[in-house]
Symmetry: D2
Subunit: 362 residues, 4 copies
């Protein structure tokens, strides 16, 4: 169902980068869930460009909730979030209308929408739409925390520089959630930022890897075929612009292991089944096993760069070159992490509601 | 919707390893599509265990189609495929019923199904269920070929041994589709088999990486949010038991690139837009750009091994050890490739039918 | 999703009248639900043609369950039911292949399936497919009874003869469920049968109205928009061949009432909210209110009659006449009632599982 | 999926009567569809209360489209429509918060939302939400007209007074679409209005029957099981507050016919298959046959009346009486007709896009 995702809890996204509003409808959340506006605003701030490693487009993301909430509690009916687009300079993009930016969706949008697409600032493909996903996900993430379920994402790698491994998950999740630039080791973070600034100064961009940890999810959630936890999470994650890969637990590294190493030995700890390693990332047969859910995504470097690139004009069908102007991020990996948290939160609310009923999230 | 996947073309899977039948319903395919039984049988044979690198369980997978087909043409109504389970020795598994096999779904099945699950041979979680997916996918794959769309998967890596890169895609797809052990370089294939046999002789197992190429898909297919081509393909791929990661185009390697390298330059070739590299794997903004769709999955080593492993009995909630008996694959990566082809074919038929209408597949 | 219906509990139907099997997959039912084969067989018997008021095609409907059940308990995974087609005389239908039977789906099938449809005995459009729906629904209906939810349908009207009103619902549901020809007043039933036999002797057919009552459904189930209880029930009921209308509570009669009469006064009875009339059929704003759910469907007379009718040959595009031969029901209203029960049971299991979680049905 | 309906074209509804905005997202419409604001405004005006037969609440429904449209053409991405709530007097409803209005959703909302629902003016259950459905449906209805598909609804019956039958459908559709009070015979319309005014003067309300005709739909659209045209239309129609029944073609009257009368004889007219009667309402086996689609809905009398009624306070669980104050419609049947048109248009766009691809609507 295209721009709507989920079964019991579903999110619908809408809007274009330079339209009046972007927004989201989050439907199916239990009634009585508290809305913490400071919490939502904080997640939106974390997604927003900041400082010299991000585009100077500085919007406040002053969202408003226009349905589904009274007295700061969900009513149980669809929650609609609107975020106005301010600070729009559509002139910056006029040149790009039929000259495709390589590795952007300009040409595929043309193929699908036959010239009717809104090409200003990426239109409906703009990363800006993720602000609405973050606002919707923030409500879900907060609700999950009230049930003892915590989500955190760090920049595992950026511009070739790697953060330390997750260690004490509960503490590490708190740590990264409190940071603007979400790394476990701030010295590493500084090196990442330096690498971003360096690429930026060369008119280039960098990518990275985001790692998410989720703790507190009850065991027994997910389906063996199709609506596995991995299937549902991956489905939504590939909507985050720039994600080109996802892996759970040991991920691609597991391909080189032997079974005797890869298998997670099982033990009993305080009357609860645990595994002593977590190469399966908390999921067996598509279903949660009570261990932390761990996954990583590959974020490609921002495609808009200030170097000349070979491209085509899809209207005249001629070859040409393009060189970006205006305001563009040299990296988005540090901003995307909060989108990843939010998308995870939405999927979890959906899967938990399917499993335990719509009142469980209350 | 749990065991059903797809919008315009949807597949429903059912069955347990030791039940009477496993099977699939594939619904929404256009009327008039030819059913090539030899083609289906061949794909089933490729999935089947073979020789000394696979379990000796040798079933013929004598599927039958009991609805939706007349005179070897689809009618347009649901096609039901039944595959009887023969050669069942359920005694082999009696010990395992409450002792969880590490990294299998035994414990998560217990959490979800509260002791009512069919634990014989993995039950509904068994890799055997993929035979039904292959039969359904074979119909789709054959139909796609009539429309000029070809899918091929090779064992990119197994037990740490890597195949050569895809090169001439059209020829390479033909090559791998004709092979039982799908590698581009047969010398490499021999080394992989040796590594599998070695691991097997040690009572251990190995994993690998599968790489799929799809050519001929028209541009403009897919959705920007949620039902992106990547989202849909990844959703179904994580249903293949043992898949722990998926990446498109350059995948995780793109995280280390700069934009100027990662971006795919665009050119015009014979009046058609192409890119000179394909780091995005044929997909921009979730939508096909006409270039080959390329993706890879990480296949974990078969969890059933013949070494003693620490585990738990989830009934008595005590710690114990387990050591596999019976017949088990030391690797499934070479068998899973045809499952990956089939799942891809189903998703493509669905997305093409959504885009161009149900008669397009005819 | 075409031949699949439901969200948390979903049913997929497949098969053709003269194919090898018809069947259903019912997915999402909780684990541990008892399968009562006598109960299923009984519902199938009630659907089956019987005596001189039905077609002499006498199949035993010897269904088998080939997945999702062990030791007569659901496993929680998809339950697949197969019913073999026996006693097939496809010769009877050879003439009809391109001459459309008026008010049948012959011509619309041609429009949709372009000549590839299975036209033998109605193919996928045959009322026979409802046997699979009944078997799936029987499992659901039995499960609901274990939770105190009871469903019963009587022939409210047939050939212009009306049964008495529902009175004591609990007793009346028991009464109709125990009968082959489900009327509350057996004298009326005899008159209906006489009218059916009379129409049959004239080569004609008759229709009727089915009324269903459901008691014991908790309040608070259903959605205000779209997935209202009425919306979900009506959606599935129109799949029953011959249904041309559905109404809830007072139904079309409410159109003539004034609000002061139509409104259901509310009272408190034994600490529970009740209404003293039930013109809304147990549903307000799409959501159950704890009162009995009451609805009626209009069943058209069987379209196959033994009188000559004006029709067309859609291959030659010429006008012609048709006169049925072979075995055909002069009425199906008395058989359809168990289909209506079954479809209701499936929808209720789905909506209750969505509301209270998948284990609620256990 | 709760507040979202449709497969290829889907609508999501949100908002509460006294919230900031109500609105709709309509997703999946082809790119390049013209937006005719006058057309949308006109349909909204037809839904709006007017004169002495409607509530004096006179809102202008000044909708705005905030995404998915540029230069008055659809972009192909989700179209979001916002309608601000003005003229809100929430004081009028303060008394009703825990005293349930009989035959309203007050009590069922409490059962589902546990006191968190927005009870002001009916909240999410308010008929006002249908304004958003109308705006979304207006876009679809206009798009269908460009493809030669026309929809019209008349008040078939109101307060026991019946309009004449549809006769020349093409002309009659034009006629009713041009009228504020949609009857074919204006003298009848005056009698209906008199009856409404009379009921209103007594503090009471009336209901009626709406009849919709749709011409120009190609044959071969719809599915045999579940997603039949009847199933899809009925599913959405029961979301219109006050609808308690729906019937297609001859509807409930067909139950009393014999097959020889009910069957629609088939002829060939100008090389096209037609039927000489249309008792099946243009649908056989769930699929369109090219004849006009005809259906009727039963609209209950507005439940809010100015007479004292027995009811309960669901907070104190005591019996009490209620007597409406403020502004309320004595009838909504004449306003609901445009909602019925709009809902029909949405379903048709969805089913046509599923059948012929997303570009067909262009």
């Amino acid at each position: 169902m295209k721009n709507t995702f989920g079964n019991s809890v579903a999110v619908t996204l809408f809007g274009e980068s330079h339209g009046e509003y972007i927004g989201a409808v989050i439907d199916g959340l239990a009634p009585g869930i508290e809305i913490d506006h400071e919490y939502i605003a904080n997640l939106l701030t974390l997604r927003r460009p900041n400082g010299d490693i991000s585009t100077p487009r500085q919007e406040k993301d002053e969202y408003k909730i226009v349905s589904g909430v009274i007295n700061n509690k969900t009513t149980g009916t669809p929650i609609t979030i609107l975020i106005p687009n301010e600070n729009v300079k559509s002139g910056d993009y006029s040149e790009m209308k039929t000259v495709a930016r390589p590795s952007h969706a300009d040409y595929t949008a043309e193929c699908k929408y036959h010239g009717y697409q809104d090409s200003r600032g990426g239109g409906h493909f703009s990363g800006r739409i993720t602000a609405a996903l973050v606002a919707a996900g923030a409500i879900c993430k907060y609700a999950l925390e009230q049930k003892g379920i915590y989500i955190g994402t760090h920049v595992k790698k950026c511009a070739g520089v790697s953060d330390r491994e997750f260690n004490n998950l509960s503490a590490d999740i708190n740590t990264v959630n409190a940071k603007t630039f979400a790394v476990l080791d701030d010295n590493i973070g500084e090196k990442m930022k330096e690498a971003i600034v360096k690429a930026s100064s060369e008119g280039d961009s960098v990518g990275g890897i985001l790692e998410t940890a989720i703790i507190g999810v009850p065991e027994g959630v997910g389906e063996p075929w199709f609506d596995s936890v991995e299937g549902m999470l991956s489905h939504i994650m590939f909507s985050i612009p720039a994600v080109k890969g996802i892996e759970f637990g040991a991920g691609f590294a597991i391909a080189d292991m032997q079974g005797s190493i890869a298998n997670d030995p099982m033990r009993i700890n305080d009357g609860k089944v645990i595994t002593t390693t977590n190469n399966n990332g908390g999921i067996n047969g598509g279903i949660t096993n009570g261990m932390p859910i761990i996954f990583r995504t590959a974020i490609k470097p921002t495609p808009t760069i200030f170097k000349p690139q070979s491209t085509i004009d899809f209207k005249t069908m001629t070859e040409t070159t393009i060189e970006a102007k205006g305001r563009h991020d040299p990296a988005i990996v540090h901003r995307a992490r909060v989108v990843q948290d939010s998308a995870s939160a939405i999927v979890l609310c959906d899967m938990l509601s399917m499993r335990f009923g719509t009142d469980w999230m209350k």
